[in-house]
Amino acid sequence: MSFTIFKLCYGDIPDQNAGAAETKQQAPVNEWPLWEVFIRSKQGLDHKHAGSLHAADAAMAIENARDVYTRRQEGVSIWVVESKYITASNPDEAGELYEPAVDKIYRHPTFYQLPDEVNHM
């Protein structure tokens, strides 16, 4: 599968029009590790994934997260975890993974037909 995209979009100037020399790809030598940031927007709510950032250590990750993700008081608490420690499910196996829940409609309250006299159950 190979095709070239010629459509020129805002913020998307294709390489062939850029008029610059090709450069060798530079492997990340000393990149600060990547961290995932989770923010509690107010007391009583869960921490929610906000995005990621680079930092040398956890303390710096929290300070950077404050500057990057809470400039307008979006949070009251921040969690950071190095991205490499996150294990994620494989979307290609989603079918098998969630299959056990598919045919268990009796887990939902609407499965049960009750007489109208039984209010608020």
Binding site: Y10, G11, G19, T23, N30, S52, V68, R71
Partner: protein, 316 residues
């Protein structure tokens, strides 16, 4: 699953407005297009800090200085959201920065124009951020999940940028004769480059529009540009200023403003590196990066030392 099945599943997601997420299968070209577009978008935010940074120390009042600082800090933040989004596609921050500094990766050409007067801060906010917002609002619905989420965050913050820009010009437009002239001059210089921000005309596209089919982009360059002209042509009346285009006039049959031809030669020249400030902008970025190297190294060394000490203490 065979590759064709994966492609079919991908196609169905796009058709059904289901976002593509980092670990999902996607065609190589989709990945590459997104990496290129998101990283160029990120570079634009970062380089975009330069023309305005130029005026932080010369802002006319403490209030204006604080506002400008907050705005430039936002641009830095927007760059970071976008770099992170691009990284989910398998590229690294170092690679993207290296591509920017080598001139391989592009950023929005608008930032290769100089900011000559204080009124430029207003014109940039109103026109440049205004043009960017139209594009970014559209990108909130882009098909790649992390890009769309970054755009939602950015759009929330961006409207302050445009409003403060317009207000800066509004104050000038009600000021002395010199201030009014400065206001008009800034509009004259930024108008055409702002129109160029939307990119080449739709008719220039030689292939089928893959970015539209993949729903990376939801509106064409010309649609967005027209939307921008219609909006600005009305707003400028409030300023009592004019746009530097003799062909600009309302077309009742189209229900849009007609406008003059863009100087495409200038557009491509600036894209290819021959704009007024291309060299300065890249040099400023490289200098900042190179001079920050010892800080990055020191932070890593310190983190390493701290980790070693903690391990030793835990073992003892």
């Amino acid at each position: 699953m065979a590759v064709t099945d994966f492609e079919q599943a991908f196609r169905e997601k796009i058709d059904n407005e289901i976002k593509i997420e980092p670990k999902d299968w996607m065609p190589d070209a989709y990945r590459k297009t997104n990496i290129r577009q998101i990283s160029q978008h990120a570079h634009s935010e970062i380089v975009g800090m330069l023309p305005e940074g130029n005026w932080i120390s010369r802002a006319p009042s403490l209030k204006r200085k604080a506002i400008l600082l907050a705005k430039v800090q936002d641009e830095g933040g927007h760059g970071l959201y976008l770099y992170s989004a691009a990284e989910t596609l398998g590229t690294s921050r170092d690679e993207m920065i290296a591509d920017l500094h080598s001139g391989k990766a592009k950023y929005s050409s608008i930032f290769n124009y100089p900011s000559l007067t204080w009124a430029d801060m207003g014109a940039i906010g109103w026109l440049v951020d205004g043009a960017a917002i139209l594009n970014q609002v559209m990108l909130c619905r882009t098909s790649y999940g992390p890009y769309a989420r970054a755009m939602v965050r950015i759009c929330k913050e961006e409207s302050f940028h445009q409003r403060q820009g317009f207000e800066t010009l509004l104050v000038l437009s009600r000021g002395s004769a010199e201030q009014k002239a400065m206001c008009q001059d800034a509009i004259n210089r930024w108008w055409w480059p702002s129109l160029m921000m939307f990119g080449p005309k739709d008719s220039e596209s030689t292939n089928s529009d893959q970015s539209m089919k993949w729903k990376i982009k939801r509106k064409t360059n010309d649609e967005l540009r027209q939307q921008f002209v219609d909006m600005i042509a009305e707003q400028i009346k409030v300023l009592g200023m004019t746009l530097p285009d003799a062909d600009l006039k309302w077309n009742a049959t189209r229900n849009h403003y007609d406008f003059g031809e863009i100087n495409w030669e200038e557009f491509w020249n600036v894209v290819k590196g021959n704009g007024p400030c291309n060299i300065q902008r890249l040099n400023a970025r490289r200098k900042a990066h190179d001079e920050g190297q010892w800080v990055r190294d020191a932070a890593l060394a310190y983190a390493e030392k701290k980790r070693a000490r903690e391990q030793k203490e835990a073992a003892a």
